[in-house]
Amino acid sequence: MSTNSFKFAGGRNSGAKNWYMQRITGILLVVVLIGHYILMHATPESGHTYKAVMDRLHQPAWKVIDMAFVTLGLWHGLNGLWNVIRDYEMKPIMTTVLYTVLVLIALVFWFIGLNTILSF
């Protein structure tokens, strides 16, 4: 006869933090991301020449905004991927491996991103 493999993991293992961080970062990103995207295309130069980029990057306010963008984007995006991964049943070891990979990607790219911004 057919099997029913449902097992309840049990125990409080909240995804609540994860959930509202996804929402908070998302809402903040609306401003930063859409702003960024529009700005980059506002004039043909704004996003595509060294000079235009440099002009902005030398202002501290823009530095902060760009750093926030990298941070929020990575957090939200990789946390999002983590959410997607959790939707699929897999062996616990697999989950741990994937989680580690995501955290590593986050750290590495965060470092690369900040490095670029802070170099100027």
Partner: protein
């Protein structure tokens, strides 16, 4: 036993995903998920691409020439579809969980689609007006 019983979990999942009717909410979810994954991959690529700034003005501008070509501008416009839809639908998802949002998700979704189309069209104008 039946397809629902015997084949691998993945196949069963695919099978159901294809056979089951897609309601408005399903489409929104599928689009949100794909755009989210797409944007995440893009942001990674983007971060790498910008390390070009470190190589100095000449090298960076050389790279950017490539990105200023019509093909790439088009690609960037397409990116805008992902950005706009994901962002606006993201707001909808937040609204759904607030107050009585869950009772109006369909109405909000209509707004999301309309707003996305308007914004994407506007961006198209911005991007291509200069070409």
């Amino acid at each position: 036993m039946s397809l629902q019983n015997s084949t691998s979990k993945f196949n069963r999942w695919l099978d159901v995903m294809f056979r089951y009717r897609k309601h408005t909410g399903s489409w929104a979810w599928i689009l949100h998920r794909f755009t989210g994954i797409g944007l995440t991959l893009y942001i990674l690529v983007h971060i790498i691409a910008l390390t070009g700034l470190l190589k100095g003005e000449a090298a960076f501008n050389e790279e950017m020439k490539l990105f200023s070509s019509p093909v790439f501008l088009f690609a960037e416009w397409f990116l805008g579809i992902l950005v706009m839809f994901h962002a606006i639908n993201g707001i909808r998802i937040v609204l759904v969980d607030l107050g009585n949002g869950a009772r109006y998700h369909k109405q909000i979704l209509v707004f999301v689609y309309i707003l996305t189309v308007i914004l994407v069209a506007g961006m198209g104008y911005l991007i291509f007006a200069h070409v």
